[in-house]
Amino acid sequence: MDPAVDTQATWPDAIFSHFRRAHIRQVGYVPDAGHSRLIQRCIEDADIVDVVLTTEEEGVGLVAGAALAGDRAALLMQSSGVGNCINMFSLVKNCGFPCLVLVTMRGEFAEFNPWQIPMGSITDDVLRLAGFLTYRIDHPGDVDEVVGAAIDMAFGASVPVAGLLSQRLIGRKVWSK
């Protein structure tokens, strides 16, 4: 766990409540500090199958497989992970699968690591080019409403939707040796 991320923030619980409300059954993720509280809630929930991935693109296949069987799935990833998914997103676009991706952003607010910036600065554009509707969330008070709307669009209208949880929302990463 990254001690610099605020693990006491409760906005991940609002996302989890929407997962429950929308009957999301599979959650794919690569371990991530910003999503750690939400991931833990999913792991502890007997009705949700949590699938830890070696790379985010695996999650796109998982979502497609779940949808083919009538299940709803969600993907949790960091902005760098979006880059790992690009070709696999063709599965979503070509078949019209619903796809919900929640992205914790890096490389955009008080970022200390220059290696996060190239992908973080194009994450929104990449998702849009791949066919996703994107919703950016900067304030904790907006998480509940915006993520709820994103989930309803993804599974109601059967479209790919991404929620971008900004680095300012998640909390700047404090670097110490």
């Binding site: 699938v51 949808a67 069987a69 009538g70």
Partner: protein, 209 residues
């Protein structure tokens, strides 16, 4: 047991005909859900008989096994078979580790290994150099992992697909011949919708699912 290094290029090896192999593995398939990897495996699965329960890939290389995992986790009482090629499997090797974490008992992955990239001109793949997919699957905690190269082994492989304690991983060593192309629909929406509807019908007609 037959292992990769014994299969390095060299004198003629005992191998299976890919069409006959897939035909036998999918005979009397009942409610088996099938995902086919892009290229020749998609044509092989189509040649064995079109089914609403076939999800044919024409792209998304490296994703076939994970689609199988999503299906298997969603429908633990149905059997799921992913039939793909060595090149497609090599592109998604990490998914074997991911599957090894969840260990779904109802998932089988069958790799039709011709040690070639058939769609791009039959260039050698990593398995031609002895990279051992069965060994990788064993290391990833698959319940069964084996190679087959003779017709006498096909019935046993078929039984593993339908009732083996998975995840099952079978490398079928096949000849690098190009079979006549049997092309299923390339319309992803159509293939998706009929698959979803067929699974829903299975559920209506079968309370165990």
């Amino acid at each position: 047991m037959r292992r990769g290094p014994a299969l390095r290029r060299g004198p003629a090896l005992r191998v299976l005909d890919r069409r006959a192999c897939v035909g036998r593995l999918l005979a009397d398939r009942d409610d088996l859900l099938v995902v086919s990897g892009l290229g020749a495996p998609t044509y092989d699965v189509a040649a064995a008989g079109d089914s609403q329960l076939n999800f044919y890939l024409w792209g998304a290389m490296g994703g076939a096994a994970m689609i199988g995992l999503g299906l298997a986790l969603a429908k633990p009482k149905l059997r799921v078979a992913v039939i793909t090629g060595d090149g497609e499997m090599l592109m998604g090797l990490g998914s074997l580790a991911t599957i090894g974490v969840k260990r779904p008992q109802n998932l089988a992955i069958i790799v039709l290994d011709n040690r070639r990239y058939g769609e791009t001109g039959m260039q050698a793949s990593h398995t031609d150099a002895g990279i051992d997919l069965v060994g990788i699957a064993k290391a990833c905690r698959f319940g069964e992992a084996l190679g087959i190269s003779a017709e006498a082994e096909l019935d046993g492989a078929r039984r593993l697909i339908h009732s083996g304690k998975g995840p099952v991983f079978i490398v079928a060593h096949v000849a690098p011949d190009e079979a006549p192309r049997v092309l299923p629909s390339r319309d992803g929406h159509e293939i998706k919708l009929r698959f979803i509807e067929a699974v829903a019908k299975l559920e209506l007609g079968n309370a165990k699912i």
